[in-house]
Symmetry: C2
Subunit: 203 residues, 2 copies
DNA sequence: GTTTGGTTTAACCAAGTGGTCAAAATTACA
DNA sequence: TGTAATTTTGACCACTTGGTTAAACCAAAC
């Protein structure tokens, strides 16, 4: 009955695809069953309800997005180094899962209480990060900045192009694939420049 | 039968609320009717189908978001001035309609072809904007920048905090209203500093 | 071979879903 | 005032939804 079964795994893969693509309200249990190549009853045998199945998917998807953020916040590196690593890793993850940001943001808007309860366990510790920034400002190694704006700026610059991708592809790039690819491949450097220039003191 | 009727208006108001809050798939015609204080049949009398009603709402919502972007792109001002004005106006609009960004980005991901067809009419001209940037770079009044990254950076920094608001409120601000308010009231200055510092040549 | 346990299936169900329709209520108009 | 046109309603419908159930399947244990 567990998800270590091959059937269980194929269900999770199918459910992930459908849920992420269509959202909870747009997803149909029948469609997930079809995608997994099984009977709809079998879905309810493995995961008692749609909510149940969805929660499994969402928790996995969200932890994927935030796993390396934890690393960023708690590691023992200099701030500028941390930030560069984070931007690299974060954009790699999002490129591999381009629909995740839109999925997570939509579901969290649709039902904040429930979704936030699901997230509760995965404790992000921002206080450590804030302390480090304060220290480095006192050191004089970076300009004074507000830690909250800083982290939100980084997340925004990384994630927004994925959240709004269909819109940007058309409005900004006129659906020209070459321009889209060029933008994507320059994005890491662009974000790092913007963020780091604003922090670095010398040069 | 038109939407200038008081009934028609109350339907639009109710539909806007429900659609923006729950998305197309999550919205129920019955709920919209209840919200408008009318019979469900009357909904179909005014707007033949759910799709029809949704399209009216979406087009209006989207044009609201982009109306001042047009102004930015075509007006006869210096780039830096334009950008500052845009950030001010854009954040004002989003503050007045905080759920709009998540709504628009979700629907555009859910059904890009249809939604982009709805937008087709409202022609945004980015070529003018690009030309101006190239000119000012040649003038020497700003550093060389990629116009596409620039405009996406601005949109990202403005819109993302709204798209991800429930998440940020909890994870970054610990649901402390005072911190949320402080962040919001500083946001314009923060974004302008970040963008302008990166463009301006003489301090 | 039969029993036992988990797995898979087809048939089915109650509660919605968007949508229709004819009749009633209201308004416009002569 | 009487009548035509418009607006509003309640009853209704076909269809889809998530979910249930009992029977069939199937491998391993005895």
């Amino acid at each position: 009955m567990s998800t270590e079964n091959s059937t269980g795994k194929s269900i999770l893969i199918a459910a992930r695809k459908i849920f992420v693509l269509k959202g909870f309200d747009g997803a149909r249990m029948q469609e997930i069953a079809d995608e997994a190549g099984i009977n709809k009853s079998l879905l309810h045998y493995y995961f008692r309800s749609k909510e149940n199945l969805f929660e499994s998917i969402f928790v996995e998807a969200f932890s994927q997005v935030q796993s390396n953020m934890l690393e960023l916040l708690t590691s023992e590196r200099f701030l500028l180094e941390k930030i560069e690593m984070f931007i690299d890793q974060y954009l790699d993850i999002l490129s591999a899962n381009p629909y995740l940001p839109a999925f997570v943001t939509h579901e969290i808007n649709r039902n904040p209480e429930k979704i936030l309860a699901l997230i509760r366990g995965t404790g992000l510790r921002f206080d450590l990060f804030n302390t480090q920034i304060d220290q480095e400002i006192e050191n004089g190694s970076i300009w004074p900045v507000n830690p909250q704006h800083l982290i939100i700026n980084i997340m925004a610059l990384c994630a927004f192009p994925f959240v709004a991708k269909p819109l940007l592809d058309k409005l900004i790039f006129g659906n020209v694939q070459q321009q889209i690819d060029e933008f994507t491949s320059n994005r890491k450097v662009e974000i790092k420049n913007l963020i780091i220039r604003n922090l670095k003191k010398q040069l």
